[in-house]
Symmetry: C2
Subunit: 566 residues, 2 copies
């Protein structure tokens, strides 16, 4: 009879416990959870704060009792494992009252998760500053909002949790400032794709400040004077007040609620103390069976380093999907199977108001950093047939190997069909498809759902044209400094250029007039063509090169160029 001890009762730990019981009725399964809740919906916390999920109890997917009833798992909440004694194969467990005891194991699973990073900024230790990881954190934020009724809040960090908290607070009618140290939010996508997100955030009148860091915070308490007391001022009833924030640009910001969401770091203290290897990225090292260096200790979820699907190097991917699947797999392996976790693509999506932003694989920044050769295309196409109501633009970026056409990464932003396109790319990448093969994808099509040539097919056509040499690309960031032997040609129609929507110094000939006016263009210069999204530009490009001109087409068109700086 195997005795399995699990540390951590949320995504990975809870999945492992349930799976282990399904595999074996005999196994003894104990699950320790430091907090008062197990198997809660951590991804749902911001949505309860924002009011989308009104019923708090919906976030509690399982209770210790329901877990025990269904899976016969001994769930011990408010129980912190404070040491692993590998030789004795026991763990030291500290109860809420501070007393402790030893519990033996045959197999141990670490699923401790990752903790919010609290940067060493002076003044953060105050009652108006919160981070968000679990139900008590959520309750504390709601309590602060209820007590103080803030009119202004500040979120530090433009990642998933930062963006979701920004939207949640805004949705509650609280004027919100979002501070992000980098020049973009949502770092899984590249800067020019984040531009669409920046525009949407500003359209909602959130005060977005890029390239801006918090340097210090000062808590300014409000002293309540009891007005119905005879003369003597009473003690303040609770700690009300506000914060004065100093920013790295010298600005001061007055706010009444501060959410720190600059990232998370793996919880590795326990593993480290037990002498288990910690990797270069700061996560617990495991092999592909989720086993640590100690054959009886497994680890899963946000606390471990995984192998990146593209670079084959260790990475941290603190996301629920991998954690759940790893937990299930670790249970298999603790009970004698040999299942392998096959690397992480980092597939991710985030809702930002009515926009979705999603990505899979490596982004351009990462590819540059890893010194991997790449080419890229941008496509902006309708989420479904343009003539059927409700179509929205899908802005799509595809990164691929210029020699083999291997899929390196994909990013998408838009109001409809974003999850679908990135899911398609996630499958194609995992299956090892090339961009040439993507041309042949046979996706669902009816006017309410797609197009006869889907966004993905279109991106594959453009990419394959580039690989074959049937098209020659210029990218938005190369338009900055034109050489004397280059001219810029806009082939859009005149109304599209209104309100300054064009690039200075261009020649303007609509694509449908180009054949008749082709002599207006210089044969001795390189013609850099642009249209709105790149499609008409390609038509013009083919005309020009087939007439002997030297030309390149702006991939993704004016739309990519414009939002790159938003």
């Amino acid at each position: 009879m195997t005795k399995i001890v699990i540390i951590g009762g949320v995504a990975g730990g809870a999945s492992a416990a349930a799976r282990a019981r399904r595999l074996s009725e005999e196994a003894e399964i104990i699950m320790f959870e430091r907090g008062p809740y197990v198997s809660f919906a951590n991804c749902g916390l911001p949505y309860h704060i924002g009011g989308d999920i009104t019923d708090r109890s919906k976030l509690l997917l399982q209770t210790p009792d329901s877990f025990r009833a269904r899976f016969n798992v001994d769930v011990r909440i408010n129980s912190t494992v404070t040491a692993i004694n590998r030789e004795a194969k026991t763990v030291t467990v500290t109860r809420a009252d501070g007393s402790d005891y030893q519990e033996g194991y045959d197999k141990l699973l670490l699923s401790p998760g990752a903790a919010p990073i609290m940067p060493p900024i002076p003044g953060l230790d105050n009652p108006l500053t919160h981070s968000l990881r679990n139900i008590p954190d959520m309750d504390a934020i709601l309590h602060t909002i209820d007590m103080n009724n803030p009119s202004h809040a500040t979120v530090v960090g433009g990642g998933f949790i930062g963006l979701e908290m920004m939207e949640a607070l805004h949705q509650r009618g609280i004027k919100t400032t979002l501070l992000e140290m980098a020049d973009q939010v949502m770092t899984p996508v590249d800067r020019e794709m984040a531009g669409f997100v920046h525009q949407t955030i500003r359209d909602q009148e959130v005060d977005l400040r890029l390239g801006t860091a918090l340097e210090s915070a000062e808590f300014i308490p409000t002293t309540h004077v009891a007005s119905d007391d005879a003369g003597e001022p009473s003690e303040p009833q609770h700690l009300e007040g506000s914060l004065s924030l100093t920013l790295n640009n010298g600005d001061t910001l007055h706010t009444e609620l501060l959410i720190m969401a600059v990232g998370v770091k793996p919880e590795v203290t326990l593993a480290q103390q037990a002498g288990l290897a910690i990797g270069e990225k700061g996560g617990i090292v495991v092999n592909s069976t989720m086993q640590t260096q100690d054959p009886d200790i497994y680890a899963v979820g946000d606390a471990v380093e995984e192998i990146d699907f593209v670079t084959h190097k260790p990475t941290l991917v603190p996301l629920a999907g991998p954690a759940n699947r790893q937990g299930r797999m670790a249970a298999d392996n603790m009970l004698g199977s040999t299942e392998h976790y096959l690397g992480t693509q980092g597939t991710a999506i985030c809702k930002v108001f009515d926009l979705a932003v999603a990505s899979v694989g490596q982004n351009e920044k990462q590819l540059k950093h890893a010194d991997i050769d790449y080419q890229k295309v941008y496509v902006h196409a309708a989420s479904h047939a343009g003539y059927y109501p409700g179509a929205e633009i899908v802005s799509f970026k595809l990164l691929f190997a210029p020699d083999t056409g291997a899929i390196l990464g994909a990013q998408a932003v838009g109001k409809d069909g974003i999850d679908k396109r990135i899911d398609v790319m996630a499958v194609a990448q995992r299956a090892g498809m090339t961009v040439e093969q993507l041309q042949h994808l046979e996706l669902t099509y009816a006017p309410p759902y797609g197009s006869a040539k889907d966004v993905i097919n279109q991106a594959a056509f453009v990419a394959t044209n580039l690989i074959k040499g049937d098209a020659k690309a210029i990218h938005y960031h190369e338009l900055g400094a034109l050489r004397d032997d280059q001219v810029l040609l806009d082939v859009r129609n005149a109304p599209e250029r209104e309100n300054g929507q064009y690039i200075d110094g261009d020649i303007h000939i609509p694509v449908d007039e180009l054949r008749g006016r082709i002599d207006e263009l210089p044969k001795d210069k390189e013609i850099l063509i642009y249209c709105q999204v790149g499609l008409r530009g390609n038509v013009a490009y083919r005309q020009l090169v087939n007439h002997g001109f030297k030309a390149r087409n702006l991939i993704g068109g004016y739309r990519t160029y414009k939002f790159a700086t938003a």
Copy 2:
């Protein structure tokens, strides 16, 4: 200079013309279209009739003029090609006035499409009976509706066009009867999946009659008597009237508009007269480069036979996606490339009121017919995290090879996320993934978009459990006749059994009580377990077999069982 002649100016033909011009400025390109319109949105026609697409001009994606301006293609509308003269390499073209002429070609592309099947039913030749293929057909239907203001319409055929027309007419406030000869609508999916569609159609108070065929129609004209004329009755102003339909069950149906939508057949007359091979399915035979037996004649779209991706046998797939991509590829090949069309999966989707129904690959009926060994699983899971508002059930069927785990087909029905799941399966199938590999798919997850374990992951888990022998399936159609050594066990909670929502003769023990009451079950009989969707059934199954019972779990649970007969 290559002279390319294209017969047919819609999906495949128009794609080919545009692509050919992009590849070559020198090529002479002539496109003949029998009707007055080119490159119209044939998939959008029902939605204009139903009023979703209010602006008729949105259906005209290109005009002959716009096509000429952008692509320098000589578009000749109202021009019917009546003969191909292969030796002379010319076609005979008949103008609208009946005169004709010869036009030479170097390469000829046939993209004539498929025509609605008009079964030999007596009485169909009347002014109230229509089919829907093109803009004039759509205009004629709208004209009939405007003139006669029908209160009742009948649609014959429950395929894509039949279902879309049913919805369009219903949406216009016309009481509608849908006659379908088979025992299900939407034959690309299997009967039990169509059950969800039947339920939705009936919920909308459409008069759905399955297993019912039209035997004859009789037109009953209404004679108008001009009331302001002095005595003499005038001639009827236009042909008003109604229809009396006789059905194969002897019933009579009175209706005022009849839409025939029993299917389409490839337009092969021209190819046949030219001596080109017609295949067993009735389509033009082409090789993988879309070339007919004549090396200078290519054919694409609804008129050709394609190779099925699963069976590797010829099939007809009259859908826009393949037509468009084949057209593009034929242009490449006519101009000297060698691009291969890599078989058709038949990926399809249809909107039926608020439901989407979609499929890819082979269905169970086809697999049986082709004598291909298969196993299947059903999963009913939320389209996104259940605790986030707006989640809908995705009902999903996965067909796979029981030995290799190869993906044979997939079907899905529901109100949200159906296109996404079938697209994921279409990519996975094309890439040659197995169901074991589907377990590892890393799909986008955030509460508004998905689940940490997506429907597809879940289906893959169930399928892999079956392949590994970790689960043993019973299917809904095997529950009809229990043997003496079998008992049925419902592990749902009591409220789920209310209103007769259970299978007669079962034992009822909720899953969370099962461990304590396991002795109530007979050890000498096979326990056939069911729950609502199969998940708790699996938990119970694992408990029972780990306690030494013989058991099977109803895959897809009571929900599959119930809708199979809807």
